[in-house]
């Protein structure tokens, strides 16, 4: 029997291991995901279009994608700054802060959600100082964006950090010897090298924000047309037993996720080629 694994590979267990992998993957992920497309296929095209382009649904796309974009941009900037500081500078408590960057990965979204909602509520720790200046955070798209900044930050830091660590400092020294000043070195030498990683982190952070539910709904206030995100709308439809509507919107979300995943894969390949 000649498996593609090569005749020289003497390691046992390839067939059962791959078999189980494909079986479990199909059972848990592929078949359930396909259910979504089959259910959507039972709708007529008109029903589908009506479900995914109702005014309230369109407004939820605007809120979700607008806030996600704003949050991803904030994260791209501050994520690079945090990665830079963690890689290039030495300061007390650095290890602790480095570990803390992953907090949004580890903290359950519902906890993040109620905490952010209470901090930014009109009598919360920050809300009480922002409210008198006319800045309303809780129950507005601004609050949604803040929750999305929280959950998306580690993506940018953790994609940019390794690239910065491996950046050869001799190149900077060479540029310096050739008379470039610090800003020129950053913008012409360091930044272009980091760019693929920054874009990857940006896309990851954006993709996470688009699908996010738990950390957003508490601070969002969930007013239809104003601060209602698309994932919440899916749940609302489900609670009204509008399975077709929920499924149609979920299909749109899933297709968007797949497209983003495709972009991220292309970006990652690009950054790997850059690294070599």
């Amino acid at each position: 029997m000649s498996w593609p694994s090569g005749k020289n590979n003497v390691l046992p267990g390839f067939t059962p291991a791959l078999g189980y992998t494909v079986f479990y993957l199909s059972l848990i992920v592929l078949i359930p995901l396909s259910a979504l497309f089959f259910k959507t296929a039972t709708l007529t095209w008109e029903q589908f279009v009506a479900a995914v382009s109702a005014p309230r649904v369109l407004a939820s796309y605007r809120v979700t994608f607008g806030s996600s974009l704003a949050a991803a941009l904030v994260n791209a900037f501050f994520g690079v700054l945090v990665a830079w500081v963690l890689v290039r500078y030495r300061f007390p408590g650095k290890k602790l802060i480095d570990a803390l960057v992953d907090l949004p990965f580890a903290l359950p979204t519902a906890v993040a959600g109620i905490t952010l909602a209470s901090i930014y509520s009109p009598n919360g720790w920050l809300g009480r100082y922002l409210e008198p200046h006319g800045i309303k955070v809780a129950f507005t798209p601004l609050g949604i964006a803040i929750a999305m900044v929280f959950i998306g930050l580690p993506f940018v830091v953790r994609t940019v950090q390794p690239v910065l660590e491996e950046l050869d400092q001799e190149i900077e020294e060479a540029a310096s010897c050739l008379g470039a000043n610090r800003w020129q070195i950053f913008s012409r030498v360091i930044f272009p090298t980091m760019l693929p990683a920054i874009l990857t982190g940006f896309a990851l952070s954006f993709a996470r924000a688009v699908g996010e539910y738990g950390s957003v709904i508490f601070i969002a206030g969930n007013m239809p047309m104003v601060s209602e995100i698309t994932p919440l709308l899916i749940i609302t439809k489900l609670e009204q037993y509008d399975y077709a509507g929920a499924t149609a919107i979920a299909t749109v979300m899933l297709v968007v996720s797949f497209l983003l995943l495709l972009c991220i894969n292309v970006l990652q390949k690009w950054s790997r080629r850059f690294a070599e």
């Binding site: 803390l100 580890a106 979204t109 952010l116």
Partner: protein, 288 residues
């Protein structure tokens, strides 16, 4: 506080001191505002009404049953995904076959699916109007709005954690050591437990701790399939939501603080596992 450049021959390629201090201050202020403040707020609000009220809130029967359900869920999900992760990374990292990178992409899929959609797909299969709904009802089996649905949705969202950690780790270690063991007469299982396992144990710990954190903290997916039956289908995060929506803020934050503590433990274990992995991997690299 003294800020220095993290490099031996600083001087030629560094920013002026004021730029360094400025960047550091802005970065730390941002992290304090967005990470430290929420973390502190959880515990501050949990203890707002005193230690007594805090303990009382945790001793509520509904809360205790939520804790129990969360532990059960994690106890099923983590081993299931651990077994899958090890088997999948054995097939993917130790052998080469066509379609490998596509398979890895499929394994990563649950990460890019919105939690709400992850819950919905199980409702579409097992719900009353779903594929298996009528059959399940005829046989009096409840999956949606019951514990099995919660477990299934959680297995889905935590599916990639361990596999995606182990695949690159095992790939970086190659297969020479296993081949040597087999040549010396070890059986397949002996080879795995005596040779492969010691090399990947910190990677396994890393994957398990992250998988566990997500399993215990998952909210969106579980919220769709749970039905929010108090005392029976509520996990800790759902209990937090219910308490919060009932305006019992102190109790909500008390319950949330358990999850925040879990997050801190997760970060600590993760940092140790990462450090141990970095210790072992370069040695393996040098040997080759």
């Amino acid at each position: 506080m003294h800020v220095t450049r993290n490099h031996k021959n600083s001087g030629t390629v560094s920013e002026p001191a004021w730029v360094r201090y400025l960047l550091l201050t802005v970065a730390l202020a941002f992290l304090a505002l967005f990470l430290l403040m929420p973390l502190a707020a959880v515990f501050a609000q949990a203890l707002e009404k005193g230690w007594q009220a805090y303990v009382e809130a945790l001793k509520e029967p509904d809360t205790l049953s939520a804790i129990r359900l969360t532990l059960i869920t994690a106890a099923v999900c983590v081993p299931a995904n651990l077994f899958f992760g090890i088997v999948a990374s054995w097939a993917i990292a130790k052998f080469s076959f066509p379609g490998k990178s596509f398979l890895i992409t499929l394994i990563d899929l649950p990460f890019s699916v919105s939690p709400v959609v992850s819950g919905l797909i199980y409702v579409l299969i097992f719900g009353l109007q779903g594929w298996l709904g009528p059959w399940l009802q005829a046989h009096d089996i409840k999956i949606i709005f019951a514990v099995p649905g919660i477990i299934l949705a959680t297995v889905f969202v935590t599916f990639p954690f361990i596999a995606r950690e182990l695949i690159p780790l095992m790939e970086s270690q190659g297969r020479e050591e296993e081949e040597a063991a087999l040549t010396l007469g070890a059986s397949g299982l002996q080879t795995f437990f005596r040779v492969t396992f010691p090399n990947i144990k910190w990677g396994i710990l890393y994957g398990v701790i992250l998988c566990n954190a997500r399993a215990m903290g998952e909210f969106g997916a579980v919220s769709v399939v749970s039905g929010h039956v108090r005392g029976s289908t509520n996990t800790i995060p759902l209990q937090v939501e219910i308490l919060y929506n009932e305006y019992s803020y102190a109790a909500a934050f008390a319950v949330a603080s358990i999850l925040a503590l879990l997050a801190l433990v997760t970060l600590a274990v993760k940092t140790v596992a990462e450090w141990k992995m970095h210790q072992t991997v370069p040695v393996a690299d040098k040997e080759r």
